[in-house]
């Protein structure tokens, strides 16, 4: 009995110890000597957020491919190719942190391209700060990400609270006295909740009546909430969520014989899936966008927004959404900062810090729009330049309708088929 137990204890110790050593066998490869720029992509390639995560990866990859076609990033007259490494966050913050550490320690990346979700971003931030590796994110829209003033993290997309807030005000202005009451609903998950809260804030600042503010769990039955909205009968219904929720919402509302006078959602409205799956029912829905393929932005690598859209379509078979676009634009930020830095790779820790400072000073025009990072306040290191535009689906097309400076069409209110 005693012998067996001690044998097991020894066994356990040896198993753990040797397992650890086997893993630790240093990954020897020709690193640090090559003149390439090593970029690590941390995103959710599996798990719940697999879909969004893969969009971000496509965005980053498209940029890498395009820049490498030219030979790489240009620094002081020479071109240095970009090499991409990937770490799957598995839609979990802890795995994201592991992935970041692995990319930094084992793959020795110089810069990180950030995750799809804010949760993973938050977990990776301290790691990015500890090893002083700058991270540029094309996604992650929660305002929480910037509250801690992360020195090494930069975000391309303005936080949702900014965009949803502004869009309600723009809408209210456009509709004038026709719209007095608003009901705000949203999915109880970070992005959607923050969007909904942004809407609510906008409603309060615009002086409108908030008839209802309610969150519901993802995958919930929408019948109760639509029954309530039908009962409330507000002038505007604002929904915070991803596109699948919007699609369900519109379908459920139709089956309960309810069409609000105005229905504003968020980015998802501009996605191809929304229009395709709903067909006619999508017409009249309002959305918010900081980027669509029709906007008049351009840069030297991708051309115009529309050029980028076609490029992405040719490469991946689908038109890009704003997430993909933001991620590709992240690469442009790196390009510009590296060029201004003027130091050739391989980069050491000290150089990375200088690179980070260079990124902070970014002020460029891209196909995605203008990019400049705030250096103080609640949206520290967030790109606050893009102007959200309210769009409306008309005959299956996304048409900007407000503010008047960006409008290409007239805002239709009430929307077609309103009860």
């Amino acid at each position: 009995m005693a012998g067996k137990f001690s044998r097991r204890a020894l066994l356990r110790g040896t198993v753990l110890g040797s397992g650890a050593l086997v893993l630790g066998a240093p990954v020897v490869s020709a690193q640090g000597q090559e003149k390439v720029i090593r970029c690590g992509v941390v995103t959710s390639l599996s798990g719940d957020n697999r879909f969004g995560g893969n969009l971000t990866r496509r965005g980053y990859d498209l940029w890498a491919e395009e820049i490498n076609k030219l030979g790489g990033i240009e620094i002081a007259g020479q071109r240095y190719p970009v090499k991409m490494f990937y770490g799957d966050a598995q839609s979990r913050p802890a795995s994201g942190a592991d992935a970041a550490v692995r990319l930094i320690i084992q793959d020795k990346v110089d810069v990180l391209f950030g995750p799809y979700t804010s949760g993973v971003t938050l977990a990776v931030q301290p790691i990015s700060a500890k090893y002083q590796v700058p991270m540029i994110s094309g996604s992650a829209e929660s305002p929480n990400v910037w509250l801690s003033k992360p020195a090494f993290n930069f975000g391309m997309i303005p936080a949702v609270d900014l965009t949803s807030d502004k869009s309600i005000k723009v809408l209210a202005e456009n509709l004038g006295s026709k719209a007095k009451s608003v009901a705000v609903v949203g999915v109880d998950e970070p992005f959607s909740k923050e969007t909904a809260e942004g809407f609510r804030h906008g409603v309060q600042e615009a002086g409108l009546e908030l008839k209802r503010f309610e969150l519901f769990p993802a995958n919930a039955d929408l019948t109760p909430i639509i029954s309530k909205l039908k009962d409330d009968n507000p002038d505007i219904v604002a929904v915070g969520g991803h596109e699948s929720v919007f699609i369900n919402f519109v379908n459920a509302a139709v089956s309960l014989d309810y069409r609000p006078k105005a229905l504003i959602m968020h980015y998802g409205v501009t996605s191809a899936a929304f229009i395709n799956q709903l067909g006619e029912k999508a017409n009249g829905a309002l959305g918010v966008s900081v980027w669509t393929a029709g906007l008049p932005y351009r840069d030297d690598l991708f051309g115009t927004a529309s050029d980028y859209s076609e490029l992405s379509f040719a490469r991946w078979g689908t038109h890009p959404d704003y997430t993909e676009a933001g991620c590709s634009a992240s690469g442009l930020v790196l390009q510009d900062a590296a060029r201004r830095l003027g130091k050739a790779p391989p980069w050491d820790q000290k150089t990375r810090v200088e690179l980070t400072k260079a990124i902070e000073e970014t002020d460029i025009e891209t196909f995605y729009g203008p990019v400049a990072f705030a250096k103080e306040g609640d949206h520290f290191h967030n790109n606050i330049k893009p102007v959200p535009v309210v769009v409306q689906i008309k005959d299956g097309k996304v048409v900007p309708v407000a503010p008047s400076s960006a409008a290409e069409g007239e805002l239709q209110y009430p929307m077609p088929g309103a009860s």
Binding site: R8, G19, G119
Partner: protein, 325 residues
């Protein structure tokens, strides 16, 4: 207990083996890079969690599908206490976290453990999901937005903390089971409950004590995990995934054995991380996990440890444990 030269020698040998094992683990950080250190730290955590689950699942004989609740209680207690407003230092949060978990376990353990096997499983599952919903709704937990903890990124610190916690858990459980009256009562309970009652053992009390102990250890690891990851949300610390892994690890390693859970935890965790870093994408892990459980139940119900200890002994051990139902 030691009462003859043979047994004294056996005990010494046992202790020596443990000391060697601990020493080996203690010097590991000197040989491997920070990333691999993270992996080993993770393995230690899961070994500890498996050990905790085994107390209730293997020893008391109640399959709990709700242990993630205690992991979450530990994680959230530490996270909340370390928030800017309260700002407690990490080590000070460990005691409240463990105590709260024990209190919750004691409160629900009493009535819940009166239920038979499968009912208990469902009840614990319902309880865990209920707590996760609460965490999603309340503001103090940050709702679905989660909580961020002050970042302290010293991999060595976390490695040694996890090692200390895991070692304390295993050695503590081993000592309790083999050398104390509590352990004696627990084993009597597991072997044959009516007989134990007839002998005057208050089986309800023992069951609740075991449940509370298990909860306490689980919460401890939850706390360390929260500080280690620096960001938690309901899904990541209270989700069913945590319970799933704990159950599989113990089943795989060997239900109701001292070291089986450690073996199962290490094997599964290393496999998981290996698949992840090699193939970049571990969607395949979940169905594989399911397949492993099915295979273990069909072909290796006594767990991997039985392959080492010997099938006969392992089977003996397991049937005695599980017959208590």
């Amino acid at each position: 207990m030691a009462s003859n030269p043979g047994q004294v020698r056996g005990n010494l040998f046992r202790l020596a083996a443990i000391a060697v094992g601990l020493l080996a683990l203690g010097v590991v950080p000197a040989f491997i890079d920070p990333y691999s250190l993270r992996i080993v730290t993770g393995a230690l955590m899961w070994a500890g969690l498996a050990c905790a689950w085994n107390i209730v699942g293997g020893y008391a004989g109640y399959i709990s599908f709700g242990h993630s609740a205690f992991f979450g209680i530990g994680a959230y207690t530490t996270a909340i206490l370390m928030q800017a407003g309260i700002g407690m230092p990490f080590l000070a949060t460990l005691l409240p976290s463990v105590v709260i978990a024990m209190i919750v376990a004691a409160i629900i353990g009493g009535p819940t453990m009166r239920l038979r096997g499968a009912y208990f499983a469902i009840a614990t599952w319902a309880f865990a999901e209920m707590l996760m919903q609460l965490a999603t709704i309340l503001d103090i937990t940050g709702g679905t937005g989660g909580l961020s903890l002050p970042a302290y990124l010293n991999e060595f610190f976390f490695y040694y903390t996890m090692l200390a916690a895991a070692a304390a858990s295993f050695l503590g459980v081993w000592y309790l089971i083999e050398y104390t009256r509590f352990g004696f009562r627990l084993k009597a309970l597991r072997d044959h409950e009516p007989a134990a009652e007839a002998m005057g053992i208050r089986t309800n009390l023992v069951k609740v004590q075991a449940f509370a102990l298990s909860a306490a250890i689980t919460a401890l690891f939850g706390s360390v995990f929260a500080y280690w990851t620096t960001y938690i949300d309901p899904m990541s610390v209270m989700g069913p995934e945590i319970t799933d892994q704990m159950v599989v690890m113990v089943l795989l390693g060997g239900l109701g054995t001292i070291w089986g859970p450690a073996l199962g935890a290490v094997v599964l965790w290393i496999t998981n991380r290996y698949i992840w870093s090699t193939f970049g994408d571990t969607v395949v892990y979940l169905p594989v996990l399911g397949l492993i459980i099915a295979m273990v139940v069909l072909f290796l119900p006594n767990g991997l440890i039985s392959l080492i200890v010997g099938r006969r002994r392992g089977r003996e051990l397991i049937s005695r444990i599980l017959r208590k139902f």
